[in-house]
């Protein structure tokens, strides 16, 4: 009985083993077939071999020779972004740095005094005074040197700056009977600049345009008129005079004009003077417009 039971068990084991072996083989064959079929049917993904990077030039633009529509994964260290630009579209790399103004002097009236009061460019000299105009700037001793007060030309001769930035005229452009600016203003300006140029042959002279005004605010505060028409006319002549005499004209006024060609009301408390934020706009413009 024992022998018989043992033979039956061996037969049962053999048949079970065959069934399992066959099943296993079938699974292997089907899986392989499916895998091959999948690879054949599906489109190829891009690989690193599709992207040719010129390793000889660091940060060079990446050239893709195949699979134009692919979006390759590129190591971040070789991505080259274009230089950042300012709002005016100029490259930041073209902008002068603050050090450019180390040997600069700013000359002007109350608007220019704000450069010092607001700490806009502390490395530059500011020779300016409230109320200065084209007719008193040569003679008025208003710049402190210790206990002494000197005129602006005297201050410049003492400090010998390499760059002189002038902004003047706003206080001297009252209209005349024909509606234009007073012609003597340009003559006075010319005389002042010629004096500075002859006394400071080492200096680059920048002539900055007269800033526009907000006519309504100006009239409300000062009970008189100063028009952008007059200022624009003066600036046209100032530019011509500058170019004729080899000075560098800077159209700073363009920074402060709205679509109507006037100073936006929010830039100014009284129609003519500018707020702290506008000094930053001014200096952004200066940094983008320098002589090397």
């Amino acid at each position: 009985m024992r022998a018989n039971r043992s033979t039956t068990r061996k037969r049962q084991f053999s048949s079970t083993f065959l069934v399992f072996s066959f099943s296993f083989l079938m699974i292997v064959v089907i899986s392989s077939g499916l895998a091959l079929g999948w690879q054949f049917l599906m489109p190829q993904k891009d690989t690193a071999e599709n992207i040719h990077i010129d390793k000889g030039i660091e940060k060079a633009p990446i050239r893709i020779t195949e699979a134009e529509n692919a979006t390759p994964v590129i190591p971040p260290e070789v991505i080259s972004l274009p230089p950042p630009t300012t709002e005016s579209g100029k490259n930041m790399e073209d902008r002068a740095k603050n050090e450019y103004f180390d040997d600069a002097a700013f000359v002007g009236d109350s608007i220019t005094t704000g450069i010092e009061i607001y700490d806009i460019m502390t490395n530059a000299d500011v020779f300016a005074e409230t109320g200065l105009g084209l007719y008193n700037i040569l003679d008025r001793a208003c710049i402190k040197f210790g206990e002494e007060k000197v005129t602006i030309p005297q201050a410049l001769m003492r400090t010998k700056p390499k760059k002189i930035y002038i902004m003047l005229g706003g206080n001297s452009l009252g209209g005349n009977a024909t509606g234009g600016y007073d012609a003597s203003a340009l003559e006075a300006y010319k005389k002042f600049v010629e004096t500075l140029a002859s006394q400071n042959p080492q200096s680059i002279i920048y002539i900055q345009s007269v800033l526009p005004v907000n006519e309504a605010k100006f009239k409300e505060k000062y009970k008189k008129e100063l028009t952008n028409k007059n200022i624009d006319a003066f600036n046209v002549d100032l530019k011509a005079m500058s170019e004729k005499n080899g000075y560098h004209y800077l159209d700073v006024a363009s920074v402060f004009k709205n679509e109507k060609g006037e100073m936006p009301a929010e830039y100014t408390p009284d129609g003519i003077h500018i707020r702290s934020e506008q000094y930053n706009m001014w200096f952004d413009f200066l940094k983008e417009n320098t002589i090397k």
């Binding site: 409230t130 505060k221 408390p269």
Partner: protein, 154 residues
């Protein structure tokens, strides 16, 4: 008992009449902030650094302690707020007043022909001393300045 009560009453009278109250100090930050707040509608006032304040006000005299000075940044107005704490209420106060008046004279010269309305404001500027403090304000009425000083005493 009666003698004891008389002694106590005497002590009370002595402490009430004989003790001198310590001088009050002015919260300088509080005073200038309140004054600037009243002036800010017309102009942007800028707090001067110590170096610049010394230059604008010629602060070279002895006995000068802390000081806070705000001036017009835009120069559209002659508004100005200044308070100085001096070492004593004698010589130093006199020197501080001289310094303030010199500044006031310069401001008047700048604005007289330039903006006559601001010149008028400077003519009404407040210069006063309170103990060992000197105060100068252009742009606010004297009553307002005095009230601001009182409300910032502690």
């Amino acid at each position: 008992m009666k003698k004891l009560l008389i002694l106590l009453a005497g002590l009370l009278v002595f402490s009430a009449c004989g003790g001198k109250a310590a001088p009050k100090t002015i919260d300088m930050e509080g005073f200038t902030a309140a004054a600037v707040e009243k002036l800010k509608e017309d102009d942007e006032l800028v707090k001067l650094s110590a170096e610049k304040a010394a230059d604008f006000y010629d602060l070279t005299f002895d006995g000068l302690g802390e000081y806070i000075i705000y001036i017009s940044g835009t120069r559209a107005t002659s508004d100005e707020v200044c308070i100085m704490k001096l070492a004593d209420n004698g010589d130093a106060v006199t020197k501080a007043k001289e310094s303030v008046n010199k500044r006031l004279t310069e401001q008047k010269a700048d604005y007289e022909l330039y903006i006559p309305a601001e010149f008028e404001k400077l003519n009404k500027a407040v210069v006063l001393s309170d103990g060992n403090y000197v105060v100068f304000v252009s742009g606010l009425e004297a009553d307002v300045v005095k009230q601001l000083i009182e409300s910032n005493k502690k």
